[in-house]
Subunit: 198 residues, 2 copies
């Protein structure tokens, strides 16, 4: 792209270099027409001018096409840049959220223990509040917990790692969520790992 543009720029610079008064010599010849009215010479001068006109028209046409091409490139580049920026903003939390998922898993596992003493129970309650604040904060950045338990298995959001057999439930129903899945907005960061009814 830049190469093409430099090319266009150089050509433009070359055209620029053609001096505006390039037909000065011809102008001088014209001055002499009235004194020297040989029709042959006059036709030659007029032919030269016609040639010059054709040449200029061709250059002008070329220049106009060049401008239209550059404008089209420019518009395309702006459109692409706007789309890029939009995606960059929409999914800016992707790497940080992806890296936090194993930490959320560990946090949930740590909170799943059963406290025997009142002191431990109080500790766990405090930690649960921190976990909820953490999750809520991440949800504010676009994190979405994928629902799985008792839902129909959907390969777009669930990964089946086990099957079970519960005749009283429909076939293809998620019997158990083994690991929570997450999305960032509409993009799946990690599918739920599930056990599916046969």
């Amino acid at each position: 792209m830049t190469d093409k543009m430099n090319d266009v720029e150089n050509e433009a610079a070359e055209n620029e270099a053609t001096p505006k008064g390039a037909n000065t010599e011809m102008d001088t010849e014209v001055e002499n027409i009235s004194n020297d009215s040989n029709p042959e010479d006059t036709i030659e001068i007029v032919d030269e001018k016609d040639e010059k006109i054709n040449e200029l028209e061709a250059k002008l046409h070329e220049e106009e096409n060049k401008l239209l091409r550059v404008l089209a490139d420019y518009e395309n580049a702006k459109r692409r840049a706007a789309l890029d920026k939009e995606a960059l903003i929409k999914y800016k939390a992707q790497s940080i959220l992806t890296n936090l998922l194993p930490i959320l898993d560990n946090f949930e596992r740590a909170l799943a223990v059963e406290a025997k003493s009142e002191e431990s129970q109080s500790l766990l309650t405090g930690m649960e509040m921190i976990y909820r604040n953490l999750i809520d904060s991440l949800k504010g950045e676009g994190l979405v917990e994928i629902e799985a338990q008792d839902k129909e298995f959907d390969p777009n959001f669930h990964q089946a790692v086990m099957t079970g057999s519960e005749p009283d439930k429909s076939s293809g129903i998620v019997l158990e969520e083994l690991q929570k899945g997450y999305q960032l907005k509409d993009r799946v960061l990690r599918p739920s790992m599930v056990k599916v009814n046969e």
Copy 2:
């Protein structure tokens, strides 16, 4: 910017509309020069052609300048877009990290309690590991803990909320960090709240 570009495009389209064979009429006149060698008429034809040449040269010059302007705009837009994108990528974690800071504060406070039972100590140890993993993960995204304790007070990184008087320490030394400060890369998200020696 777009207005300007549309303007340029319209002008280009107008030029395009000037038919290439606009001097056909003059060409026909030229055919007659040899038969009608009246020098007055001939001069008139040559003058018309000179006028046409001047007009075309002016248009060409204008068109070349227009192209150079558009190319300059294009280059500027590309440069700005690249800088925008760079900043967007560099600081993409800013909002998420800023929102997580109060959660990190609470986490640290919860871990500061003294466990009386072995069960509680084991719970706290588990939670400390989760906290460390969380901090390390956020550091991977550019989070930096600001150093304060025993450092010289620096208003770029520290906010003095109390003063103390310890004659055996230099004046302007941070005596105590009351709340941890954080940066995202080179950008301060929150200064450390500190107690400074008078």
